[in-house]
Symmetry: C2
């Protein structure tokens, strides 16, 4: 299946497979009424995207029960191939003890130097993915 | 200069240098009240980000005089280094003959197979960038 732009439409199963293997994604949110985007590393746990941030970050403030997008991609600019997967869903800050104990046990270390004691979970409500055809 | 997350704050000059050298970015917009993001190749011309899309695309519909974000990044997951630059500004669909003649002369071929006869320009109004420190 191809979309109107000639890109291959990926199945939900393939989208989930690609996201799980990716080291880095980008979270898209609204910051003071403006579109905002921030690269983050993450893990998938119990079907949710789990990311860490610091309590004072724009992301922590913006992600409280907001609808966000989360994007992962991989492209090879030399041959113009690649794919991207986008999840849209509600983000929530994890605060319940059982959940925190669980996510703190995950292999999720932030790449930034500062403390990142806030965990945000995104439950996928929409998943879509596209791939550039090899011959493009 | 470092932000509260311990990331190096990049100067506007360095942000512009990094964006100019990048092959691919991601445009962040709103699609039917939901956050949307799409990878796109681009060129910088006359200080604006120029991208191509097809007339029927979600992006073409969403980018008419909307405020969008445009992000470029480069990370090395093996050593947790990298940077990202984000531009925020108004997007407009180019329609004036002189502008179209100019952008059609740019080295901007879309990677997708379908026709991409719409040109969108984003004029940067905010530019910000961050870099992960090497020692992180």
């Amino acid at each position: 299946m191809y979309d109107s732009g000639g890109l291959e439409i990926l199945s939900e199963e393939e989208c989930r497979r690609l996201i799980t293997a990716a080291p880095l994604g980008r979270i898209v949110f609204t910051d003071r009424a403006l579109p905002a985007i921030q690269p983050v590393n993450f893990v998938i746990s119990r079907g949710e995207v789990i990311i860490r941030t610091s309590s004072g970050s724009k992301l922590a403030a913006a992600a409280r029960n907001a609808v966000v997008a989360f994007e992962v991609d991989e492209f090879d600019p030399s041959v113009h191939t690649g794919w991207s997967v986008v999840i849209v869903g509600h983000a929530r800050v994890l605060s319940e003890n059982g959940e925190l104990t669980h996510v703190r046990s995950l292999p999720l270390r932030t790449w930034a130097p500062a403390d990142h004691d806030y965990y945000i979970a995104i439950r996928p409500e929409l998943i879509s993915g596209r791939r550039l055809p090899k011959a493009a």
